[in-house]
């Protein structure tokens, strides 16, 4: 593997950059692997990477029906934070955040993880109570958090509408300074390169069309490129996990919905912080390229079309202009959607299934990008050991039968 650095870059510049190797190979699938990972999004690639790195399991294939990172990993608003409400969620996302903090160096691939701070605005008295509760819990859990007044919010984000006469005036906010954004595509590519260099086969344009089992055990997967044998299969297919579950004859408490996003034309830097608002429902950051990256709402209906309703975009931009009146004349350049896998408690399902050797990692819904390294880390552990890590033990499928939900809806914070 070529090392990436300013020196190798300079050296290659002399040769017209013709010396670079492929970041990952494009091998033909083998007949058998120790572990097959279904889904070449960030989570699947991270799982393969950590399987190889942490557990020495390298006879692994990542099967991706399209191009790696082309699912939600490549179409999300890239917000990373760990200030969740419930302990279980906080610990999982904090593990992830810690991994983010060294990820570029670890992968030798700059994923542009940018800790520019995440603000969650409060607009009602109850919002503020919830913010207090969450920030207090975060700090006791060892996660950084602050509660800001309106004046402090304004000082951080001078262009925000702090009018007391706004329909829903800003009453304050929570701030996690270690939160921020990352370059989504680079995350997929960096993990792919890391996994590939440790022997993992990344196989694109390979759609899993069936999950074979022998009684209660998984034996492999049928794909658009033939049958691939494996006695451990980890499914990390986000919006498509329901489809894959039905291939294995199991049902999941998941619905797949379109979640839209949009970007403005690139403008000079004006917004240095990630701003999220639940009550006014908009969230926004400015990418390093200059475009404003804006998350639009989720459409209520089940949808696999990677597109949503225009009315949702209208509502989102009204919220953005309400929060940032000076953005009124900025123009929207492009919009798109992903397919998010929403669970009843807005928390993921990571663990074993009734089928032996078959593992699922899904339900990240509108907020799993930030979990990418952590999710891969715990899932690798779960697959390697056959039991969940303590960080994901609570995120089992059984919780829906026992009632032990981890209800992040209660946090009254959008889960991005």
């Amino acid at each position: 593997m070529n090392r990436y650095s300013i020196f190798t870059l300079a050296r290659n510049a002399l040769g017209g950059h013709r010396g670079w190797q492929a970041a990952w190979r494009s091998p033909e699938p083998k007949r058998r692997y120790d572990v097959v990972i279904v889904g070449g999004g960030g989570h699947g690639l991270a799982t393969a990477y950590y399987l190889a790195r942490e557990h020495g399991i390298t006879n692994v294939a990542v099967l991706e029906k399209g191009w790696i990172g082309g699912g939600n990993t490549g179409r999300n608003t890239t917000i990373v934070r760990s200030n969740y409400l419930w302990d279980e969620a906080t610990h999982l996302y904090e593990k992830s955040l810690k991994l983010w903090e060294g990820l570029s160096q670890e992968l030798n691939y700059n994923v542009m993880f940018s800790q520019r701070g995440v603000l969650n605005l409060g607009h009602t008295l109850q919002d503020m109570r919830d913010i207090e509760r969450r920030v207090n819990a975060n700090r006791l859990n060892g996660v950084d958090g602050e509660v800001l007044t309106t004046v402090q919010v304004k000082a951080m984000v001078p262009i925000i509408n702090d009018s007391a006469h706004a329909r829903y005036p800003i009453l304050g906010a929570s701030l996690q300074r270690r939160g921020g954004t990352a370059r989504h595509d680079a995350v997929a590519w960096g993990f792919a390169r890391g996994a590939d260099s440790r022997g993992v086969d990344i196989i694109q344009n390979c759609e899993v069309t069936g999950i074979r089992r022998d009684g209660g055990r998984v034996t492999g997967v049928d794909t658009s490129r033939g049958f691939i044998e494996a006695d451990r299969v980890g499914v990390v297919a986000a919006g498509h996990c329901g489809v894959l579950a039905s291939m294995a004859g199991i049902r999941l408490p998941i619905e797949s919905h379109p979640l839209q996003a949009l970007v403005s034309e690139p403008i000079k830097p004006v917004l240095d912080t990630v701003v999220m608002s639940n009550a006014v429902h908009g969230y926004i950051s400015q990418a390093d390229k200059g475009d404003l990256v804006i998350g639009a709402g989720i459409d209520a209906y089940v949808g696999y079309g990677q597109r949503g309703s225009f009315s949702t975009i209208e509502g989102t931009l009204a919220a953005i202009v309400e929060l940032f009146p000076t953005f009124s004349r900025v123009r929207m350049n492009r919009q798109w959607a992903g397919i998010v896998d929403v669970s009843p408690d807005a928390c993921p399902i990571i663990g074993l299934t009734p089928v032996k050797g078959l593992y699922f990692n899904c339900g990240w819904g509108t907020g799993g990008f930030k979990a990418t390294p952590g999710s891969g880390w715990v899932f690798a552990h779960t697959i390697a050991r056959g039991v969940p890590h303590e960080l994901n033990a609570s995120f089992s499928l059984e919780r829906f039968a026992t009632g032990r939900l981890i209800d992040e809806h209660g946090a009254a914070a959008v889960a991005h």
């Binding site: 408490p253 009315s311 039968a401």
Partner: protein, 93 residues
């Protein structure tokens, strides 16, 4: 942007409606007769298909009636609309 034919009011725009999720999930007649897993199945498990989906909609800004829609979740095309208690029209051969 869907156009949904309310069985009473006729075609109306999506923004007049509220979505209600998968249809034909019957509440267990005797909840005590089912075990926790079966109850969880009723409460949470969804078929969530990529393709033909039968789902509930409510004409919230109109006649406030609930009804069923059969819709393709990939193309978003609506293939049938029918009242509660009815079955969808068989697709024309």
């Amino acid at each position: 942007m869907l156009m949904i034919a309310c069985p009473w009011c006729g075609p109306r725009e999506q923004t007049e409606f509220a979505y209600g999720g998968e249809a034909h999930i019957a509440r267990p007649a005797d909840p005590d007769a089912v075990d926790d897993a079966q109850w969880a199945d009723y409460l949470f498990m969804r078929t969530n298909p990529k393709g033909c989906h039968r789902e509930q909609w409510n004409h919230a800004f109109g006649c406030r009636r609930w009804f069923n829609v059969e819709r393709d979740t990939l193309s978003y095309r609506i293939t049938s609309v029918y009242k509660p208690g009815e079955r969808p029209a068989e697709p024309a051969a």
